[in-house]
């Protein structure tokens, strides 16, 4: 109980919001709109999982939004050229992994700070995409949306798949040796090295993995509509970093888990629909999101201060 206090308190906050919605805006609970909203968050969830890995390993990746756009546009162009989805999917994952490998090489290989490296790759990728696409939408052929299945099947498939990824990764992080390595690298790289783990190699692969997940998420986004907008990933990085941190993953590395990140994501994703249902004007949205982030970290600070006495 005590060990998972942080995750449980976020889950508690989420439940409180959901309960408040049940009382004040019961219309929120309609199966079809909820499923649609959940489907919209499925790609974000996958990116958030990757981000949790990166942050637990004491790094950060702010280029994920740009990667997401690049993967989405490339996958869209391939699909528009008539590639079958079975080929587009691995291509998108591979492009993401490649972009992640670039970050990984610069961070792990050259020992550069990840925040600056990914800031640079974020700007470079985004402007590169602007230069090439000039904002033009990619129109996808019929049969790409929902993988050619019916809408409801497609939505359940995407949500189910994202949850499956979450569960598998959460369990892997907790129980597999590779998962424990991530914590080891994040809490004390030197000790990890002495224990026989190669932190550099680990960090490199975490960035590659992050990129691959972004490529996967871009595909989950691609199949939700018949067009891809090149701006699609703008602002995604801040959304997932905020979700992961609100969910109790420590930015200083080595602490946190995917369940917390999941709860954090849901909590933040609830803000906009909740405001709409409660008929609060949109002007307050950013301030409320900022307040949630601050509240979560302040709670962290207070607890650790009390723990120290």
């Amino acid at each position: 109980m005590k060990r998972h206090f942080r995750e449980l308190s976020v889950a508690g906050a989420l439940l409180a919001v959901l309960a408040a919605m049940a009382v004040f805006a019961p219309a929120f609970y309609q199966p079809q709109p909820l499923l649609s909203l959940a489907t919209r968050e499925a790609p974000t969830l996958i990116v958030a999982c990757g981000m949790a890995f990166v942050i637990i390993a004491r790094q950060i990746d702010i280029s994920v939004g740009s990667q997401f756009s690049v993967c989405g546009v490339c996958a869209g162009l391939l699909a528009a050229r008539g590639w079958p989805l079975a080929a587009v999917l691995p291509a998108s994952v591979a492009i993401g992994a490649l972009l992640g490998a670039l970050n990984g090489f610069l961070v792990a290989g050259l020992g550069l700070p990840s925040i600056v490296v990914t800031l640079a790759t974020m700007v470079t990728l985004r402007q590169g995409l602007n230069l090439v696409r000039q904002g033009e939408f990619v129109n996808l052929p019929d049969g790409v949306q929902w993988f050619g299945l019916s809408q409801t099947t497609g939505q359940w498939l995407l949500v189910g798949f994202a949850l499956l990824v979450l569960v598998v990764l959460a369990l892997a992080l907790r129980h597999l040796a590779a998962g424990r390595f991530v914590y080891a690298i994040g809490s004390d790289a030197e000790a990890a090295r002495l224990a026989g783990i190669r932190p550099q190699r680990g960090t490199f692969f975490i960035f590659v993995f992050m990129g691959a997940l972004v490529g996967l998420a871009a595909m989950l986004n691609l199949v939700q509509s018949p067009q891809v907008q090149p701006l699609t990933g703008n602002g995604l990085e801040l959304k997932v970093i905020a979700a992961v941190v609100v969910g109790g993953v420590a930015i200083s590395g080595g602490r946190g888990n995917l369940w917390g990140a999941f709860a954090g994501l849901l909590l933040l994703a609830c803000v906009a629909p909740a405001l709409i249902h409660l008929r609060i004007e949109a002007y307050w949205e950013k301030a409320i999101q900022g307040a949630i982030i601050l509240l979560a970290v302040v709670a962290d600070g207070w607890r650790s201060r009390k723990a120290k006495g």
């Binding site: 805006a25 219309a27 929120f28 309609q30 079809q32 709109p33 909820l34 649609s36 909203l37 919209r40 402007q127 602007n130 696409r133 000039q134 904002g135 033009e136 939408f137 129109n139 809408q151 939505q155 986004n221 939700q224 509509s225 018949p226 067009q227 907008q229 090149p230 701006l231 699609t232 703008n234 602002g235 906009a272 629909p273 709409i276 249902h277 008929r279 004007e281 949109a282 002007y283």
Partner: protein, 329 residues
């Protein structure tokens, strides 16, 4: 090691220099600079196509640059750069009326001809405004179209680009004024920003529909919001029950208009807007267009009316199922 890198950088610089030096042969041509609100926006890309056509016909050089996002401060910086480059004409779609006027007045003082298109600056900061439709005209057209579809009765919601964009605020103001004046039985239940992201517009529209079961129509006044809202309506299975209209381009909306999800997309002919702007700018620089003129002949497009210092492009155009296939932009 470091000095080697430095040498490399210098070498790269020299190569670039030669390339650009070779390209810098122009100088006899009239130079017209064309500033959009945001470069990556399909709307302005389409304006640019018309501008390029006019520039080619008239034999002038066209510069096209703008912020990659809608950014008032950056617009000023670009205009000031053009002033020192000594261009002959500057045509601007103003992100912010007062902000840009500072820079435009400076340009006029240097003898550069200034005109605005799409969104006006302060009247003293430019010679002419190529008026594709006044904010009032756009607001009224959208609101009237919404009322026509709903027979003047029912709830509707709006999707805007951001809460701070100047033109969006202006349009919204006129839509709300028209609503108050003419359609007492209609009600605006939500206004949500989508940050110019189609995907975000889709999420917002989904939530709006679930919160407002009696919603009859979604109106998007930013172009990525129209397909976003349409996709949400389609996925909610409310095609025909919740109408979608908005400002947008035919190509981004064709699919939804044909499927009957989106009823109508309102826009002027953006290519003509770009074309007319460049024609007017060049005429201004050659002293063929002067204050007080009442009409202007713009190349292959024919003659346009001038009212005061506004060159009128004509009424906004409504694209719907019947006519959308005739347009490709």
């Amino acid at each position: 090691m470091k000095s080697r890198l430095l040498r490399l950088a210098l070498l790269a610089g020299l190569v670039l220099g030669t390339v650009s030096g070779a390209a810098a042969a122009a100088g006899s041509k009239l130079v017209v600079a064309f500033l959009p609100k945001s470069k990556g926006n399909a709307y302005f890309i389409s304006c640019k196509a018309g501008a390029e056509k006019a520039a080619k016909e008239l034999g002038v050089e066209l510069l096209f640059d703008g912020p990659t996002d809608s950014n008032a401060a950056k617009q000023n910086e670009i205009v000031e750069n053009w002033i020192t480059l000594g261009v002959d004409v500057i045509a601007v779609a103003a992100e912010n009326r007062e902000g840009i006027s500072t820079a435009l007045r400076k340009a006029q003082k240097q003898g550069i001809k200034v005109l605005t298109y799409d969104a006006d600056a302060m009247p003293d900061a430019r010679s002419f405004f190529v008026n594709q439709a006044t904010p009032e005209g756009i607001g009224h057209a959208l609101m009237d179209e919404a009322a026509r579809l709903l027979n003047g009765e029912g709830e509707f919601a709006m999707i805007v680009a951001t809460l701070t964009a100047a033109n969006q605020r202006e349009w919204q103001k006129h839509i709300e004024a028209r609503l108050k004046d003419k359609y007492p039985k209609m009600k605006l239940v939500a206004v949500r920003p989508c940050d110019d992201l189609k995907d975000k517009a889709q999420s917002e529209a989904t939530a709006i529909m679930s919160a407002n079961p009696n919603l009859k129509l979604i109106m998007s006044i930013c172009s990525p919001g129209v397909p976003g809202a349409a996709e949400a309506v389609k996925q909610a299975g409310k095609t025909g029950k919740v109408r979608v209209i908005g400002l947008g381009l035919p190509n981004e909306n064709r699919r939804y208009v044909k499927d009957g999800v989106t009823d109508s997309v309102i826009l002027w002919k953006t290519e003509d807007l770009g074309y007319l702007t460049i024609q007017a700018g060049v005429a201004l620089a050659k002293d063929q267009l002067k204050k007080g003129a009442t009409s202007f002949k713009a190349g292959s497009l024919g003659t346009f009316e001038i009212k005061g210092d506004n060159i009128l492009l004509g009424k906004p155009f409504v694209f719907n199922k019947a006519n959308i296939d005739q347009f490709n932009f």
